[in-house]
């Protein structure tokens, strides 16, 4: 057993917003009717695998956004597991990785819906942008479902900046680097805009400095 570095419990009927900056083992419990928005912004990797576990009780809602800005030879090896133990739970887990230099991401995501997790709704998304041919991505977004009354999905995409979009922007007078920046900003921001609270949104943007 790995030692757990941080445990977070969201109390019944509570709503919480959290930003984390260090990639570390984390266990999070969502009590009944609670809601959690959690944003992880990681610029520094870790030497060994870090595990994120999310436990969802009845009617709880979880929104996870993990942004990885990989530079130099940083290694980001981590897992996320959403355990839908209660009924009517929702979890949306979005991972965005932007990879420069020789950085690597090794990610295993899992959605577990046991027989008790009726009417759960779960999504796992991993999108990656590669800026270097020395960077690498391993991703395994998996599902384990033992219930027929669920909605579950996952998706992953890996690619580089779209050449057509670059061409379009450059056509309109932007130089290469500002066109790149603009597209990167768009890539990262599309999910941030989902957070309702303005202050929280502001905080995230400040952290990203994009």
């Amino acid at each position: 057993m790995q030692k757990l570095q941080s445990n977070i419990t969201v109390k019944e009927n509570f709503k919480k917003n959290i930003i984390i900056n260090t990639l570390d083992n984390t266990d999070i419990y969502l009590s009944k009717n609670s809601e959690l928005n959690i944003v992880g912004i990681f610029k520094k990797g870790a030497n060994n695998t870090k595990n994120f576990n999310f436990y969802l009780e009845n009617n709880s809602k979880l929104n996870i956004l993990i942004i990885i800005l990989g530079t130099k030879n940083n290694k980001f090896t981590f897992t996320t597991t959403s355990h839908h133990i209660g009924k009517n739970t929702t979890s949306i887990c979005t991972i965005k990785s932007v990879m420069f230099d020789e950085s690597t991401v090794d990610y295993k995501g899992n959605i577990k819906i046991p027989k008790t997790g009726e009417n759960s709704n779960s999504h796992l998304i991993h999108k990656s942008l590669l800026f270097s041919n020395k960077a690498s991505i391993n991703t395994l977004p998996s599902l384990e479902i033992e219930n027929d009354k669920v909605k579950a999905g996952h998706s992953a995409s890996i690619g580089k900046l779209d050449e057509d979009m670059m061409f379009y922007l450059q056509n309109r007078g932007l130089d290469t680097s500002s066109a790149k920046n603009l597209l990167l900003k768009g890539f990262l921001e599309e999910d941030i805009e989902n957070f309702e609270t303005k202050d929280f949104l502001h905080l995230i943007k400040k952290q990203l400095i994009i």
Partner: protein, 472 residues
């Protein structure tokens, strides 16, 4: 929200009772002992009068098998007892090229399955394997004249050893996995196809595999070589009688598609539900070549099969289309493996699974982009249908990308067709029966459309036919 009653009933009737469970009484020509050791391997090789390099290859593979452990992932393999299996049963003295010379009891079994009618109507060639040996093999004269070789792997080894020295065991080496090693040690039967440069085979070639004996181990070995600019479509079907004890089917399939060649390989796997189906299938595709796997898994107790495509030449393409149905006591652990080893290669994986009555279906896939393989496009989509709350569905899609200039996309969903879709269709004036038929047909359609016309029509008709009968 659950799957509608009609849809469930439709699927149950389509993939319902096992229809091929009859047994045939056959006087076997030769039956090997059950203990897996050097003597057994030598005995098989001796029976087949093989060259000594093949005997050595078998013995080396047995050694690898003994040293390798069972895979720790996937299905439960602990109940396989390697010392209670029949490794080699020769039901007939030799492979016949005339149907009437086949042993009457064996002939009857294949006639019951309707294999011969298919040959007359729409096949370019037909092979039939019964337990360990190919009992019948025939190919159209027109194809023979063009230089096409379609034979049992045993015969081909004797008559065309040059192909075997170059390719045999090179695409799937014996040390690839435990079951590939086992197959390499005790392989028997299977199909060998060689398509010469520029030859296109219009009608599909088919092999049918039948396991008859209880506690049988069937280890066919297939090698397909499509030379530059050629094309071929190969179909395999498999069934077996139902016994209370387990049988094992561990095949190895090796395919080479050279420059501009196109190979399509269709499997209709409908083993009885006491059979372990642990198969290694792999294709090497070179410049502008194309490989298509169409994989339908309805039968077996546990299937672990991941058809693989190695895209090794620029512009090569690969596709895997699979459909799995897991019912009571069944575990379908199937998927696809794509390795992009050259620039400008593309791949497409489309997987559909249905879990019912406590069955479990898993998609396990890998897409790997090697360094230097630039400008890659890959798309994977898998859909799963769970019909009740005792069934299970898993998805494990692994992606390993070591190159920047790629476009890889994966999407999967576990769905419960039912009220919403039904409501939508019914509100447009379609009756409930028709609507649920459309939904299930639509779900399986992308796979069915890849089957040869005759099979597709049959499967579609079956779906519709059962539909009208099912609604009370």
């Amino acid at each position: 929200m659950t799957v509608s009653r009609h849809t469930k009933r439709l699927i149950n009737t389509t993939f319902g009772d096992y229809k091929f469970g009859f047994k045939s009484a056959v006087n076997n020509y030769f039956v090997s002992h059950k203990h897996l050791d050097d003597t057994l391997v030598k005995e098989i090789s001796d029976q087949k009068k093989e060259p000594s390099w093949m005997t050595d290859f078998r013995l080396k593979s047995l050694d690898i098998f003994n040293r390798k452990s069972l895979p720790a992932w996937g299905g439960n393999l602990s109940r396989i007892n390697f010392n209670t299996l029949h490794y080699y049963i020769k039901p007939q003295d030799s492979t016949k090229t005339v149907w009437n010379k086949v042993d009457p009891n064996i002939k009857e079994a294949f006639d019951t399955l309707g294999i011969r009618e298919a040959e007359k109507e729409f096949l370019g060639g037909l092979g039939a394997q019964f337990d360990s040996e190919v009992v019948y093999k025939s190919v159209q004269d027109a194809l023979k004249e063009k230089g096409v070789i379609f034979d049992s792997t045993d015969n081909a080894l004797r008559e065309h050893p040059e192909f075997f020295k170059e390719y045999f065991g090179k695409i799937v080496p014996a040390n690839d996995n435990k079951f590939a090693a086992l197959n390499s040690a005790v392989w028997s039967g299977g199909t060998f196809i060689y398509v010469p440069k520029g030859v296109h085979i219009d009608l599909p070639l088919q092999s049918y595999f039948r396991m008859n004996t209880e506690n049988m181990g069937q280890f066919e070995r297939t090698l397909i070589i499509a030379d530059e600019g050629s094309s071929v479509h190969y179909i395999e079907g498999c069934t077996a009688p139902i016994y209370s004890s387990n049988s094992l089917h561990a095949a190895v399939v090796e395919i080479v598609a050279k420059k501009n060649a196109k190979v399509k390989y269709t499997t209709l796997q409908d083993w009885a539900h006491n059979i372990y189906n642990l198969v290694t299938k792999r294709a090497f595709v070179y410049e502008n070549g194309e490989m298509i796997w169409v994989d339908c898994n309805m039968g077996s107790q546990l299937t672990m099969k991941y058809p693989a495509i190695y895209l090794l030449g620029e512009g090569a393409k690969g596709e895997v289309h699979s459909l799995a149905v897991a019912s009571k006591n069944q575990h379908q652990d199937a998927g696809a493996k794509i390795i992009h080893g050259a620039p400008n290669t593309s791949s497409l994986v489309s997987s559909k699974s249905i879990s019912k009555e406590g069955g479990r279906s898993s998609y396990r896939g890998l897409v790997k982009v090697n360094k230097g393989a630039k400008n890659i496009k890959s798309k994977i989509s898998c859909d799963a249908l769970i019909l009740d709350d005792i069934s299970r569905s898993d998805t494990y899609p692994l992606m390993k990308i070591d190159e920047e200039n790629v476009l890889v996309a994966h999407e999967a969903k576990v769905s419960k067709i039912g009220e919403e879709e039904l409501f939508y269709l019914m509100s447009r004036g379609i009756s409930e029966q028709e609507a649920s038929s459309m939904i299930v047909n639509g779900f399986a359609e992308p796979i069915i459309k890849h089957l040869p016309m005759e099979y597709a029509i049959e499967l579609n008709r079956l779906l519709e036919l059962e539909m009208t009968g099912a609604v009370g």
